[in-house]
């Protein structure tokens, strides 16, 4: 899902840089407001986890590979805005040092995986784990129910978050032939239309990588619920 340099034309990568800078500024303000000094190691742990989990390429036999991002998990542990910063740090290091994602595409990749994926995943997690249901056995006051709702919310949130990030990636790539063509009529940047990029990227994420993200999120959460229960938010 890391868009390399050259796949996006200047209109797209420029807009996404312009979008992500105010997001970073807002996220930094939120970190300043909400993150405690004692949570700084947790921010570092989260960014490192995201970096490392993305190295685990999951193969689609005979086809392409994909990976989890940890976005929703990290948002649950340190809050959504610190998670935006953690994911962005991992993505920028990947781009600058390892060429995993382009430099011009840092805005796009941070917007897709580091912002949209994080906020959507966390939003759905909150909705499922916190939504008040009156006079029902699914009421969150029962600790067992609360626990189950958190885990289900984390799994569905993670699945939805990574799929939103994948969908944005597919749309950004797919609109390139519409935006930029050379004098010979050939695309100047990513040459594949939306009718190719959306099915190619979405099918693999809906059926495999999304599930991998959900499984990673719920498993780590189960472990942290035992080892550091105080870290789990709402």
């Amino acid at each position: 899902m890391h868009i390399p340099d050259g796949y996006l034309g200047p209109i797209t990568y420029g807009s996404l840089w312009a979008a992500v800078i105010p997001i970073w500024i807002y996220a930094s303000k939120k970190v300043k407001e909400l993150l405690k000094a004692s949570q700084v190691p947790l921010l570092a742990l989260s960014a490192a986890f995201s970096f490392v989990i993305m190295m685990f390429n999951v193969p689609l036999p005979g086809g392409t590979t994909g990976h989890a991002t940890g976005a929703t998990l990290i948002a649950i542990l340190i809050g959504p805005w610190p998670a935006v910063i953690a994911l962005s740090i991992a993505l920028i290091v990947q781009a600058l040092i390892f060429g995993d994602g382009g430099i011009t595409a840092i805005g796009a990749n941070c917007f897709n995986m580091g912002f949209a994926g994080v906020l959507a995943g966390y939003g759905i997690y909150r909705l499922i784990s916190k939504l008040k249901i009156k006079n029902s056995k699914f009421n969150g006051k029962n600790p067992d129910v609360k626990n189950t709702r958190q885990l289900i919310g984390a799994g569905i949130g993670a699945y939805a978050g990574i799929n939103l990030a994948a969908f944005l990636t597919a749309v950004e790539l797919g609109i390139q032939p519409l935006l930029h063509t050379g004098a010979d009529g050939r695309p100047l940047y990513s040459p594949f239309p939306l009718s190719i990029t959306i099915p190619a990227i979405m099918l693999e994420h809906l059926f495999l990588f999304g599930i991998v993200e959900a499984v990673v999120t719920v498993s780590v959460l189960l472990y942290i619920k035992k080892s550091h229960p105080e870290l789990i938010r709402g």
């Binding site: 890391h2 390399p4 340099d5 050259g6 796949y7 034309g9 930094s28 970190v31 300043k32 993150l35 405690k36 000094a37 949570q39 700084v40 190691p41 921010l43 570092a44 742990l45 989260s46 960014a47 490192a48 986890f49 970096f51 490392v52 989990i53 190295m55 685990f56 390429n57 999951v58 193969p59 689609l60 036999p61 005979g62 086809g63 392409t64 590979t65 994909g66 990976h67 910063i85 740090i89 290091v93 990947q94 040092i97 390892f98 060429g99 995993d100 382009g102 430099i103 011009t104 050379g182 695309p187 100047l188 940047y189 990513s190 040459p191 990029t197 190619a200 990227i201 080892s227 550091h228």
Partner: protein
Amino acid sequence: MANLKFKIQNSKFRKLWIGIAILIILSPVGLILPELLKAGGDWGEWGADEIEKIAGYVPRGLKKLSELWKVPIPDYAFSGWEQGLKSYIGYIFSGIIGAALVIGVSILIGKIFAGKNGNS
């Protein structure tokens, strides 16, 4: 260095740091499994030469932009260490270097923005 080690040993997140270290050591699984199952890279992350094979030509803008910046460790592999066992060792080293950078930058940013925030 000794100071850092001391901090990690006494950190309440010690188990989680060990978890990151274990993941780095296991990271070559992310190379080996795709090799075994004959899966290429991520969809849409091809280099210019691969795109030529798929699309029949290299889009001009793509070629120009993709040559913009030479990264120090392309694809988490060290030059001459791209195949077999050496690539796995290189992958682990890349994991260590990348994680160290990510941790360093995060602590720096965390200290700048949240360094004085209390714990209440």
